[in-house]
Symmetry: C2
Subunit: 437 residues, 2 copies
């Protein structure tokens, strides 16, 4: 089954074109080779599953009613949450992809029904696509970990276990929400020179991460070896792991970050399936001088195809930029291929202790920093070399109220049609006054 899951098929053919014309533009994030799944609503109607194609959303409920798609996977994908589809595993996801590709390909009879099964993306209100069962956040970038760790110990900046296992922590599922919803600046406690302080965070940061959505389920007590890990990867998105750095530094020892993270986590609405990502699989990154992983975290497949080539960017749009009519400024440009640990290794490590991973579980990759200066994927890293100077003369150390942070991602490979992740964006709102007690 594994081999079948990770080889190209006709849905990946770079010559394939959609009858939705906007999907065929060379810069489209959603060509017919992508077909990401999401949940949307329109005009107050009930949420339902959809597929991004060019500047349109294919309404899966309408397509089902019209008899253009069928079967249990299609029915599950049309629901207001993708959990049941995720529970069905990758074979179901692959079958659905084949149906969708035929439906949307040039020459399909469905083209004549375009108006009844397509919704303009501008009219679709995207929802949280998944009822998130659990959210675990990794720290898989050597560049991120070593840049920030150097403040603690320049001679040994990495966490002690960094090269032996993908370091991670349990994070908060309830506060994950979808792109477009604002983020309220949190109140919190931290230590200042004048003592312990409580108030709105003064160090609100973004962290650019990849979201990894899980398929299938292992029972409590039953591990997932590397040979089975790829089956558990349902798909990917962009994730902003908002962080209050002042709160984090104070609360963190020894149990790790807590309220510095659970203030909010923003995810992109489209789930780019593992099937769509097959052309962009690359060898797992290796670092000279670092021993190969222990056998339980190693596999031939992972060495050859465990990594993913995804160009990732962060843009900042300040209130003043909006008022001036200027576009956002780019703060980060990096690539997921630099990560020291792969999604498959994260899955296997997470379940070594028998922890039951559920359909709809969310993994964050950790901040996706790369080796170059522009690859610093959070403000805490960027300001190690001083304040951030924006093109319009503004400066930043951390985020201010009214700032909007926008993530973008594009998978890329020679000979393949590049596919996009859509945006993951949110604006910062002022902290609430502390409620009268």
């Amino acid at each position: 089954m594994l081999a079948g899951m990770t080889v190209l098929d006709s849905t990946h053919d770079p010559k394939l074109r959609a009858w939705v014309r906007s999907a065929n533009a060379p810069d489209s994030e959603f060509p017919i080779q992508n077909l990401p799944l999401g949940v949307f609503s329109r005009d107050g109607e009930a949420p339902r599953g959809g597929v991004a194609i060019g500047d349109q959303v294919l309404d899966l409920r309408a397509a089902l009613k019209a008899g253009l798609i069928s079967g249990e996977a299609a029915e599950a994908a049309a629901e207001p949450r993708l959990n049941r589809l995720m529970a069905m595993g990758r074979p179901a996801s692959r079958d659905l992809r084949a149906q969708l590709s035929r439906l949307l390909a040039e020459g399909s009879d469905a083209a004549s029904q375009g108006d009844s099964i397509l919704v303009p993306m501008s009219a679709a209100r995207m929802q949280l696509p998944v009822a998130i069962a659990n959210f675990s956040d990794f720290m898989a970038s050597r560049d991120h970990s070593s840049r920030l760790g150097a403040r603690r110990d320049p001679n040994s900046p990495l966490p002690q276990a960094f090269d032996s296992l993908p370091v991670a922590y349990h994070s908060r599922a309830s506060s994950v929400h979808v792109s477009g919803e604002p983020v309220v600046r949190p109140n919190g406690q931290w230590k200042r020179k004048d003592g312990v302080h409580f108030g709105p965070t003064e160090a609100l940061d973004y962290e650019l991460e990849l979201a990894v959505w899980l398929a299938g389920e292992n029972a409590l007590g039953v591990p997932v070896p590397m040979s089975r890990a790829p089956e558990r990867l349902f798909g990917y998105g962009l994730l902003n792991d908002w962080s209050a750095r002042d709160v984090q530094r104070w609360e963190m020892p020894p149990l790790g970050p807590f309220l510095a993270k659970s203030l909010s986590t923003t995810i992109s609405p489209w789930v780019v399936t593992a099937e769509a990502m097959i052309p962009f699989e690359v060898p797992a990154a290796r670092t000279e001088g670092v021993a190969p992983p222990l056998p339980y975290l190693d596999s031939e497949w992972n060495r050859a195809r465990g990594g993913l080539a995804i160009a990732m960017e962060v843009w900042l749009l300040t209130s003043r930029m909006c008022a001036e009519g200027s576009g956002p400024a780019r703060l980060t440009a990096t690539d997921f291929m630099h990560m020291a640990w792969t999604p498959a290794q994260m899955v296997t490590h997470h379940a070594t202790n028998g922890c039951n991973l559920l359909p709809g579980d969310l993994l964050g990759s950790g901040t996706c920093s790369g080796p170059t200066d522009e690859g610093r994927a959070c403000m805490a890293e960027i300001i190690l070399s001083g304040p951030i100077h924006l093109p319009n003369g503004e400066t930043r150390r951390f985020l201010e109220d009214g700032d909007e942070v926008i993530f973008r991602g594009r998978a890329h490979a020679e000979g393949a049609v590049s596919i996009g992740f859509g945006e993951c964006r949110a604006q910062i709102l002022p902290a609430p006054a502390w409620p009268a007690d």
Copy 2:
């Protein structure tokens, strides 16, 4: 509303007796003053809500059908999960308690229908009572934190923020299961003298904690001040936060415990409601020389009634004790009243950043160690002074396969009828062979 929630009413009357005779025995854990809620099944029938009374379970579905209780709270409590009741908040829980107390009190007409609404506890298979939305685990015992922290730094054993806020981490919801289900020894990675090692943990420990179940919901971005925190406390149970100490030490810096904890968490099946605990509310513990909490973590109610008087014990039953026909040996005897932070403070702190707390969220109090030697509430603390010598000549440093760990708890107050929590128990099974890759 708050005042009404925290004053005694006729359901707490120590003279009240039940028509279920076993409930009136002086050592009964489940007298009519308790009325804890749980979910049970019998003979393969569908799970449903029940109330512990003496050695019986009141079948809430049967009581509803017989017209002995009514209303939305009673219907929600009869469901296979208590989440909907928890969403309704404490007023619903109080109304339900009043109905149950009348139904079970001596003189009630319901006594004549005993056979049709009671199930012997020995025939009831207890279930996980709640679909756990999120699980956060605190570290609120000064004695636990300082004993273990002294290994790191004898002069400054407490976490830096310990006296300023209730330290906590996000833990894993999916691997929480109910008392009676075995715990599989986890595989994991840690560092030994001969290098990084992967295999079954050699340092499996228990942690005696109080489970705190939450009621109601605050929207993301909306904090919960101390004045509203008591409304969010639905009830309590016992919680075993199983810990693999070797794995924990290796993986922990800097993001905190991960696989050392998500291997399994065992909770007791009965939810002792906050209403039942009113007679056992005590002043929040104060430590000489420690500054009072910042105003946002302080309230008059909390100072007077935020703590809880609960005697808690840990017993160990080894395979050899079973074979010898001897009873379990007591390893820990402590009291929740020693905790440095109260459940109300945990709620308010958790939501200072606007984190949305949901009905069915679970908080762990952290290991409930007390100041005396017998108050050490995990093996890592006990063996600081050498191996554990059991009465039958066996010794332990950590748990062995076949060992069964049993938690018990009893709330106590002068002039009140003591109420019990039932057992939280589980046996350790051998680690699985690592699956062939």
